[in-house]
């Protein structure tokens, strides 16, 4: 079996039986091959983040199953899944501990898999962290004893990206991880993301609202709406796709406007 992540008939209803009932995931199925880098599009409330939270185990689905590298993780505890799943959110503050040093943050993320030394921060690991930080090209390798809270949002997000990928996860989830950064920093973090995914051959899912970005990054693009898979393109079909066509296609298939945002901008 070559699938790294297999999601079958995943269903989740929030507040069932109340007027606020929301079908966040609607019989959702997706197969992700090893090494796939999939970009995920969809309007607000389409179920993208819900999908991530289901994969991460923040809640249990009503029905369906999630297989990671052939192993059923549908009902596994969230922190246990985190051994093999790295995640990065929009808010850079979520991924790092502000009152601990960069080095300590990395050590904690790293030691989830590496052999444990008596001291969590030690020379051998620190040398490796220094190397990794140097690849970010943000000068963080000389500030390893600095508290994470003193870094800028972009620096923190870059460090969080390292933390999410340092233990070579089987799956990397990126939830609009550059949306809160300024354009230049966002570009930088995206480049680093692409590089790390390529270097380590990671399997990744990236949520974005940027059509152009969705097509430029990764090898496959999917679109979600109302908790369902609306579009799934890769290869030549994706190569011929433009952001404009993507919007057209989406509108046609969903038979409704793309999102509240686009509706407002018309």
């Amino acid at each position: 079996m070559n699938a790294q992540l297999t999601i079958t008939h995943l269903t989740k209803k929030f507040d069932p039986g109340t007027p606020n009932e929301k079908h966040a995931l609607h019989d959702f199925s997706l197969e992700v091959a090893k090494g796939d880098f999939i970009t995920i599009l969809g309007s607000n409330g389409a179920g993208k983040s819900t999908l991530f939270n289901a994969i991460l185990g923040k809640f249990l689905p009503d029905a369906g199953s999630i297989l990671l590298d052939g192993e059923d993780i549908t009902y596994e505890k969230d922190y246990k899944r985190a051994l093999n799943i790295g995640c990065l959110y929009q808010n850079p503050l979520r991924g790092t501990a502000p009152n601990m040093t960069i080095e300590e943050n990395l050590a904690l993320a790293y030691t989830r898999k590496s052999t444990h030394h008596f001291f969590a921060v030690n020379k051998k690991d620190s040398a490796y962290f220094r190397e990794l930080l140097a690849t970010l090209d943000l000068g963080l390798e000389d500030r390893m004893k600095t508290k994470m809270g003193l870094l800028s949002g972009g620096q923190r997000q870059a460090a969080a990206l390292l933390m999410a990928t340092i233990a070579r996860p089987k799956l990397l989830l990126l939830d609009e991880h550059t949306a809160a950064l300024d354009p230049a920093t966002a570009q930088k973090v995206l480049e680093v993301t692409r590089q790390i995914i390529a270097d380590r051959g990671l399997t990744a899912l990236m949520i974005t609202h940027d059509m152009d970005q969705a097509l430029r990054f990764g090898n496959r693009t999917i679109m979600m709406d109302s908790g369902k898979l609306l579009l799934d393109i890769s290869g030549a079909e994706r190569g011929a796709m433009t952001p404009e066509k993507l919007v057209d296609l989406f509108v046609r298939q969903a038979k409704q406007t793309l999102s509240d945002r686009t509706r407002l901008s018309i």
């Binding site: 943050n105 993320a109 030691t111």
Partner: protein, 318 residues
């Protein structure tokens, strides 16, 4: 000489309460969670230590007392994490329940002296005081004054505990506890059971508090149910004074500053007594110290804003 004695006695009190200050530091500063179990676990350590001291060996009693406090911490941690009870309420629940437990441990009385009733050769009943670690230590070093014995032995114990604690916080489980207080989500994302880390932290904190209770019990030679009230504030005052002395830096310095703060707090009290402060004023003084220290940052900020405004106004007039 009088001052030497005063300082000796203040320092030995400071050392006796130092483990408690470290415990408060772990709960309030590292885990970032108010833990009100402390008043109860101090007495729990005391009562268990008293009973075990009388029944068997004083050194065993220290461990028993410490473990008792750790168990109390486990209950609070369990209530907080697994049953999702608000941290403050969880502590209050355990502390309240502990009152009954402590009463039962002392055999249905509110205090217990470290002594056993024995019959001497002439058939009369006499009280024989139980051995304590301080008695054992002063037998080892004859000629040393009582205050000096208490200070020396307690300081040795505190130094060892302090060193162990500093090392522990550099290991992965120790670092996980620190991170849990800082950003729990990051801990879960690093595949660490954050609930377990939190419980371990609270267990550790209350174990240390109970160690203070045990040491106190052996030093004062009795256990009393009322010894715990207001201890949380005393611990907080020590931690805050330590922070004033050492600043807010790494965890190693934090643990050391809690110990230093405890000693400094007792010195302050000793000199307050010297200028005729009645002993019942201690708790008010502690509460005032904590309240003042907590408002200090805000007061500084307001002063800076006020200064900036006055400067700006002067600028306009000029």
């Amino acid at each position: 000489m009088e001052y030497v004695n005063l300082i000796l006695s203040a320092l030995s009190q400071g050392m006796l309460y130092a483990p408690m200050a470290m415990g408060v530091f772990i709960a309030f500063k590292i885990l970032n969670t108010p833990d009100l179990t402390i008043d109860g676990s101090l007495v729990f350590g005391m009562t268990v230590c008293a009973v075990v001291t009388i029944a068997s060996h004083p050194i065993l009693a220290l461990f028993a007392g410490t473990l008792a406090g750790a168990a109390a911490g486990f209950v609070t941690g369990f209530l907080q994490t697994k049953l999702r009870i608000n941290a403050i309420l969880a502590g209050i629940l355990t502390m309240t329940g502990l009152y009954t437990v402590n009463y039962m441990v002392l055999g249905g009385q509110s205090n217990l002296y470290l002594q056993t009733a024995e019959t001497n050769e002439s058939g009369a009943e006499v009280f024989v005081s139980s051995s304590t670690i301080y008695k054992m230590f002063s037998d080892l070093l004859p000629g040393l004054e009582t205050n000096a014995v208490v200070l020396l032995l307690t300081a040795l114990i505190v130094a060892a505990v302090c060193a162990l604690l500093c090392v522990f916080f550099k290991t992965r489980p120790g670092m996980a506890i620190r991170a849990t207080g800082d950003n729990e989500e990051m801990v879960r994302s690093s595949s660490i059971n954050a609930d377990a880390s939190r419980i371990l932290g609270i267990v550790l904190a209350n174990g240390l508090v109970a160690l203070s209770g045990s040491l106190l019990c052996q030093q004062q030679r009795y256990a009393d149910l009322n010894n715990g009230s207001g201890m949380l504030v005393v611990g907080l005052a020590s931690v805050i004074i330590g922070q004033v002395l050492f600043g807010r830096r790494g965890v190693t310095l934090g643990v050391i500053s809690a110990v230093a703060g405890s000693a400094a707090y007792r010195l302050i009290l000793q000199f307050a007594y010297k200028i005729d402060m009645p002993s019942y004023a201690v708790k008010l003084l502690s509460a005032v110290i904590v309240a003042l220290a907590l408002t200090l940052p805000l007061a500084r900020q307001k002063l800076a804003i006020h200064k900036a405004r006055t400067a700006a106004r002067k600028g306009e007039q000029a």
